[in-house]
């Protein structure tokens, strides 16, 4: 049982079962780790901004660096009029990053390794950006699906292709994060299982591999949070500044 690599993704409820109108709203280990990562973010930002000294302490430095990192990213990819969405993108980035990083600790649970969690995040971005586009440009937002300089005969086919390409955004956004996290954690567990089953004699090679893979996984955890945030910026840019 302990060597089953998929066992770590099991969701089980903690405490009593809560049923609201036929919907199971019980508190699970997934919810617990979401609360933990949110609490860690709040603690970091609280202590990081508590004493604002000119020569920053380490924790203040981390907070300021994450602020400038996201602010610069929004400015570069979505333009300066996307500054109003800074809180949203910052929250998204920090939540994904902390969920990924908390999941790297032994005995913990990776929230982002479940597609429903990542899909909800991606759908939130997708629906929000679409509404924003229609509010900002009205019916002209549909011009996004009609590229310029296409002959009339090809237009119906091109519009269908563009609509599918647009609809595939939330799927690619969520599948990317989910698949990377799940594949990485499964691989770590498989190599960990090899260490046990090969014993003292042959277990050293997989042990080395799992050390290297842990490093790679930490890189991937950061990279996926970054990609999630930067793609949100790119979609925001499409909605705010309508052009091809």
């Amino acid at each position: 049982m302990a060597t089953n690599p998929m066992h770590q993704f099991e969701v089980y409820k903690i405490g009593p079962e809560i049923n609201l109108g036929g919907i199971n709203l019980s508190f699970t280990n997934s919810s617990l780790f979401m609360v933990i990562s949110s609490a860690l973010i709040l603690l970091l930002l609280f202590f990081g901004t508590k004493r604002k000294s000119l020569v920053p302490s380490k924790i203040q430095l981390v907070t300021e660096m994450s602020y400038t990192f996201i602010a610069k990213m929004i400015n570069d990819t979505a333009g300066s009029n996307a500054k109003t969405f800074f809180p949203f993108i910052f929250t998204l980035f920090m939540f994904v990053l902390f969920s990924n990083m908390v999941g790297m600790l032994p005995y913990s649970f990776t929230v982002t390794s479940h597609i429903i969690v990542t899909f909800v995040l991606a759908a939130m971005v997708f629906i929000g950006v679409t509404i924003l586009g229609f509010v900002k440009h009205g019916i002209k937002y549909l011009e996004l699906f009609v590229p310029k300089g296409v002959p009339m005969a090809l237009l119906p086919l091109i519009i269908i292709i563009e609509i599918i390409s647009y609809l595939s955004r939330p799927v690619s956004l969520s599948v990317r994060l989910f698949a990377n996290m799940m594949a990485g954690h499964t691989m770590l567990k498989v190599f960990g299982g090899f260490v046990i089953s090969l014993g003292l004699l042959g277990g050293w090679l997989p042990l080395g591999f799992s050390v290297a893979l842990t490093g790679l996984e930490i890189l991937v955890a950061f990279l996926q949070a970054y990609v999630f945030a930067i793609l949100t910026c790119i979609y925001l840019n499409d909605a705010l500044n309508l052009h091809h």
């Binding site: 269908i160 292709i161 609809l167 595939s168 698949a179």
Partner: protein, 94 residues
């Protein structure tokens, strides 16, 4: 003697520039890995979405395999369009 001094300062500046360039390369390495991961899923996602739409329309109009096949190919086209678009975006930045 003066010439040697000049050359040494020039050398130092050149070395510094090389070092700076290498540092830049390292930071863009991680970013390009992110881009590679991004493109690979974009192709698959569009195919998946296209086939799903075809399957749903098939169930609706009762034309079992026809629309699924059509929309599969449209999905492939949309996937290639996705990759093409993001490659174009990357090219613009460089």
């Amino acid at each position: 003697m003066k010439k040697i001094k000049e050359i040494t300062t020039r050398l130092e500046i050149a070395k510094k520039n090389i070092n700076n360039n290498q540092k830049n390369d390292k930071s863009s390495n991680a970013a390009s890995l992110g881009k590679a991961l991004k493109i690979s899923t974009e192709l698959v996602a569009a195919v998946f979405v296209g086939s799903t739409i075809g399957f749903l329309l098939d169930n609706w109009f009762d034309t079992k395999p026809l629309l699924t096949i059509c929309f599969f190919f449209i999905g492939v086209a949309a996937g290639i369009l996705n990759v093409f678009k993001s490659a174009k975006k990357m090219h613009k930045k460089i």
